[in-house]
């Protein structure tokens, strides 16, 4: 059956949002997502844009509101300016979500994938960026987390701050679950071929296989204030012929100013490093080597809604060729513009014909 837009609870083996807080209109200390069933849902994905409501606050994700010391473990890899560091915690009090450095109002962004079904220790991987103030980021990293509870079905998830009203105005939390088909008898349908938006899902809205080298690609007709989140994927095949110096950045509304800032944590040979810099776009793929025909690849989650600085998190392969993968990167980016609705994205390569034949661009939008 061909349909237009769909709105409802759909069990079709997709990921679908079951909770979206919207932007908080008042600060709170904790927020409870109830009516979950981790044994049925099996996995959750929690995307959070947190605006700190209090200084020196830690933020946690707690299944069934278990705040017991010693029931959680964590292992971190974190980049802060040029310092790359690792940490382990074996007496945690929640899946670590964010850390507020020293002042309220900082913006943080995180993406947690949680394996929720009981029977085994529950595990989750979080990519995060913390401490965004104006146009700068303090931390970017990945944290592995576990909840040493094998028995209890997850029926709720509490997002908690350890300071009063730590979840500040403007914070937003979105939970997606795996929505399997099952044996229940509710509203069975046959095939559904959706031509419109499917509420609560990410959908691909743009795709371009580059067949003729080009310098930039513009995706227009966007509405970041409605879509809230985007997911971008880029494979960059350097077509410049210059042997390096080609980067794919995303320029929101074609803003080419130095209004972007990134912090990265990078594996490079056996000498990992971290760094940060102001930039002229939101970096998603790169080829900085000086010789050879190199490719780059990246996936990026973007919080696009205006009102606060726009944040994004990327997993990237920086520069690869047969026989060599140069960089394994995590990257957080901030676009300092807080006001303008994102209506277009320009994927810009930095060099004439930098997007060579074989380059590929995808853009996905969340359907709130």
């Amino acid at each position: 059956m061909k349909t237009g837009a769909l709105a409802g609870t759909i069990y079709g083996n997709e990921w679908q949002m079951v909770y979206d807080s919207g932007e908080l209109a008042a600060a709170v200390t904790s927020l409870t997502i109830s009516n979950l069933n981790g044994d049925t849902d099996k996995e959750y994905r929690i995307i959070s844009r947190l605006v700190s409501g209090a200084a020196n606050t830690n933020f946690y994700v707690r299944p069934n509101n278990d705040a017991g010391t010693g029931t959680y473990g964590e292992q971190w890899i974190n980049g802060a300016n040029t310092t790359l560091a690792a940490y382990r915690q074996t007496t945690g009090i929640g899946f670590y979500n964010h850390y507020e450095l020293n002042a309220s109002g900082q913006v943080n962004f995180a993406d947690l994938v949680l394996y929720a079904k009981s029977g085994y220790i529950r595990s989750g991987i979080t990519k995060y960026m913390d401490g965004v103030v104006g146009g700068a980021i303090v931390n970017v990293g990945s944290v592995a987390g576990c909840w040493n509870n094998t028995a209890d079905n997850i029926t709720s998830i509490v997002i908690a701050a350890d300071q009063t009203n730590g979840l500040g105005i403007g914070s937003r939390f979105i939970l997606l679950r795996r929505a399997d088909r099952d044996a229940s008898t509710i509203g069975k349908t046959g095939k559904i071929n959706a031509y419109g938006k499917i509420k609560g899902c990410f959908q691909k809205i743009y795709e371009n296989d580059i067949l003729s080298a080009t310098t930039s690609v513009t995706v227009s007709g966007l509405d970041g204030n409605t879509d809230v989140l985007y997911r971008a994927v880029v494979r960059l095949v350097d077509g410049s012929g210059l042997g390096g110096g080609t980067n794919c950045v995303i320029r929101y509304n074609n803003d080419a100013g130095a209004n972007y800032f990134f912090q990265h944590a990078t594996g490079y040979y056996t000498a990992p490093f971290a760094g940060s810099t102001a930039f002229n776009g939101d970096l998603i793929a790169q080829d900085n080597v000086t010789t050879g025909s190199i490719e780059g690849f990246g996936e990026k989650l973007i919080f696009a809604k205006s009102g606060y600085v726009r944040t994004s998190l990327a997993r990237m392969i920086g520069e690869y060729a047969s026989g060599d993968v140069n960089y394994a990167m995590l990257l957080g980016n901030v676009w300092s513009n807080t006001a303008d609705n994102i209506t277009s994205m320009v994927f810009y390569s930095g060099q004439t014909n930098g997007f060579g034949v074989g380059s590929h661009i995808e853009l996905w939008a969340y359907r709130p």
Binding site: G4, A5, L6, A7, G8, T9, I10, Y11, G12, N13, E14, W15, T71, G73, Q75, W76, N78, L84, A85, A86, R88, Y115, K117, Y120, S123, G124, I125, S142, A144, G145, C146, R178, D180, I186, G187, K188, K191, I192, N193, A194, Y195, C201, Q203, K204, R235, V237, G267, Y268, Y269, T270, E295, F297, I317, Y320, S322, G323, D324, V325, G358, H360
Partner: protein, 183 residues
């Protein structure tokens, strides 16, 4: 269109991610094969695994597109182990390293692997991983990136292997998600 609660018993298509394979092992195995794929049509894969170590020692969990066991892979990774941050590089590697669990039977590991499978170029694998979960101690967190040098073979299967016999223990969960465009 408001549709209330619906069980989509047929295929759901609409430019979104759909689960294409899902298995929770009820008996230990050394290999799990996901077949019937068409990477050129599907275009995006995401492999999400939670492994239970089925071997009383160190076990690697490996991925072989089209069961290619040649030294056709290159990788770079970033890791955190306790207070040590490090990285590694492997050229002409023999597989896509997903994750690992050390030491004991029943220890857990997790991998979230994005794959861009169309032919024409080397295929990238972007992996976020957790190694060796035991109680509240996590052995390592890592971000690894692998390329498969093959540019021409359509990916029709993904083979997940343990490097120890029956290393894929009972309870191991393997899911594959793919992009499903509207028709």
């Amino acid at each position: 269109m408001r549709i209330g609660k619906k069980q989509i018993k047929g295929a759901l298509t609409g430019d979104l991610w759909i689960k294409a394979y899902d298995s929770v092992l009820t008996s230990a195995a050394t290999t799990v094969t996901i077949s019937g794929l068409d990477g050129n049509t599907d275009k995006d894969y995401r492999l999400l695994c939670r492994f239970v170590n089925g071997y009383a020692g160190s076990t690697e969990f490996q991925l072989y597109p089209n069961n290619d066991t040649g030294n056709n892979y290159d990788r770079e990774g970033l890791y955190g182990i306790n207070t040590t941050a490090g990285s590694y590089k492997n050229a002409a590697f023999g597989y896509v390293f997903l994750t690992a669990a050390d030491t004991s039977l029943g220890n857990l590991a997790m991998a979230d692997c994005l794959i861009y499978p169309p032919t024409g170029r080397m295929r990238p694998f972007v992996i976020s991983e957790i190694q060796t979960i035991s109680g509240t101690t996590i052995g390592a967190v890592a971000e690894s990136r692998t390329i498969w040098r093959d540019t021409s073979s359509n990916i029709t299967s993904l083979v997940i292997k343990a490097n120890q016999t029956n290393g894929l223990g009972v309870g191991s969960s393997i899911e594959l998600w793919k992009r499903v465009d509207k028709i």
